[in-house]
């Protein structure tokens, strides 16, 4: 599996989930499995490295350092989170260059304003800014095989029509695929009924309805959620045990 063949692979296996990670333990566990690709998610990384729930709190240099460390632990395709480009298109140019040199095979640029936040209804940027960031990222690539996917997060504000419009101009500007986030099943079904110029992926979490026409699914951190629940149970166990011991 390479960065240039991943979309074809997914197209033939539409049930495939690309797992997300933001910490070394989870990354290592996932790397040992035969997933075709992995996403080093900015929100999960932010929680891991700086104990912040919003991706926008994590700076490029902090994320890139972690990406380089994780790159050494995985030989397959690694998707790096470019967030919203860490500023304007000029910042995106240098950010994309940094993430490519740090080992990202595919960069995932979202259409939020800068700084990007981890929220269900983020603010989204203008077409001009988004196109500028996409072109800047592509201009920065040293390796012609590096790919860029765009995550559209504003279906709540620009609707299905806005999504379609964005996909049209992003295709012309050179995007390799689109990922839809913060959608409901009906919206996704509508999109898959249309003839779109780019492969369509969507974010995934437990309970997500599998819909024909979606090329692949990007995990939003299922493993991390499970680990967090287990950790909370363990914390409660320690607290209860500690109190019982104190009472003795």
């Amino acid at each position: 599996m390479t960065k240039t063949t991943l979309l074809d692979y997914l197209d033939n296996r539409p049930e495939t989930i690309i797992p997300a990670s933001g910490d070394g333990n989870t990354f290592k566990a996932l790397s040992a499995q035969s997933f075709p690709a992995m996403l080093l998610d900015a929100t999960l990384t932010s929680r891991n490295l700086i104990a912040e729930d919003s991706q926008g709190m994590l700076t490029l240099s902090e994320y890139a350092k972690f990406l380089r460390d994780m790159r050494l632990k995985k030989t397959g395709v690694l998707i790096a989170d470019l967030q919203s480009g860490f500023g304007n298109p000029l910042n995106t140019y240098y950010a994309a260059k940094e993430l490519e040199r740090s080992g990202g095979d595919i960069l995932l640029l979202n259409d939020q304003t800068y700084p990007a936040h981890t929220t269900a209804k983020p603010l989204t940027t203008t077409p001009e800014d988004l196109i500028g960031k996409l072109r800047a990222a592509k201009d920065s690539f040293e390796n012609p095989d590096t790919r860029i996917w765009i995550k559209l997060e504003g279906i709540h504000s620009y609707g299905i029509e806005g999504i379609i419009e964005r996909i049209q101009y992003l295709a012309k500007a050179g995007a390799d695929a689109i990922a839809i986030d913060h959608y409901d099943g009906q919206q996704l079904r509508e999109l898959t009924q249309m003839k779109l110029p780019l492969p369509l992926l969507a974010t995934w979490q437990p309970g997500t309805e599998q819909i024909d026409g979606i090329t692949g699914w990007l995990d939003k951190g299922y493993l991390s959620t499970v680990i967090q629940k287990a950790q909370n149970q363990a914390i409660n166990f320690i607290k209860q045990g500690g109190l019982a011991y104190a009472e003795k």
């Binding site: 790159r71 196109i131 960031k133 201009d139 040293e142 101009y169």
Partner: protein, 302 residues
Amino acid sequence: MLKNERMRTQFKDEVMSGHIVRMMVAPDALAAKIAESEGAQAVFSAGYATSASALAMPDRGIADFGLSLERCRQIVNAVDIPVFADADTGYGDIDNIRRTVENYEAIGAAGMFIEDQVWPKRCGHMDGKKVEPTEVLEAKIRAAKAARKHDNFLIMSRTDARAVYGLDDAIARSKRYREAGADLIFIEAPQSVAELEKIHEAFPNTPLMANMIEDGKTPLTKTADLERLGFNIVVHPNAMTYTQAFAEKTLIETLRRDGTTKAYKDRMITFPKFNEFVGLDKVNARNAGYSPEKMKKVYMNE
């Protein structure tokens, strides 16, 4: 060919060319860019300069792997000539060597040296050095060779035994390091031209590095003479750090004395020349290339 591969290939070709490679130690990315612009063929990201520039500390094993790696990475990204890395003792045992090699190779260094000093180490020209038994660096070199992903990521052995046990011991150690797989040999701090000659006689077919440090143990020797002596790389480890420190010190003295920097201005690069050197025009042009007006034309399909 991607940059990392291009730099490794270029460095190996230069080292094997039969001509000496002029390599400057750069304390930071700006210094590296200056060295490149003035004709250095390679840059060395080395411990003495990194300790000084990042920590204002001597080269005594305080600067660690993470700090040194990051400085080297910044330098690699700032220039388009090969960058060689000083990996000190490898920062631990042979398990650490693996991580050290993997990381320096991944950031795009053209190669690295590892040395046989006892950690925490000292600059090679300081007194009081101690060296490990030869087997320690032999094992590290084998581990380094096993860890590297590309044969043209060059591994250099460095011995500091000259100061501890004499030149014959340093040569004997280096022969064992060569047999263990070192691509390049560096015997630190020979004390005369005769010793430099003796090193070449011991390694007539192995690329050698000479270290020209001001006020150090080795006589300052011209690059052309080192080439005639059979050395393949000459490195100037501290010249940029000392020049920078001297210039900044005299600048502050002038400012304190005069209350202004006017009297020092003729020893500074000018505002426009500096901006040109660091590529302000190129950055501004790139920024303008993605202006909302231009992107709107793309959006409107004009």
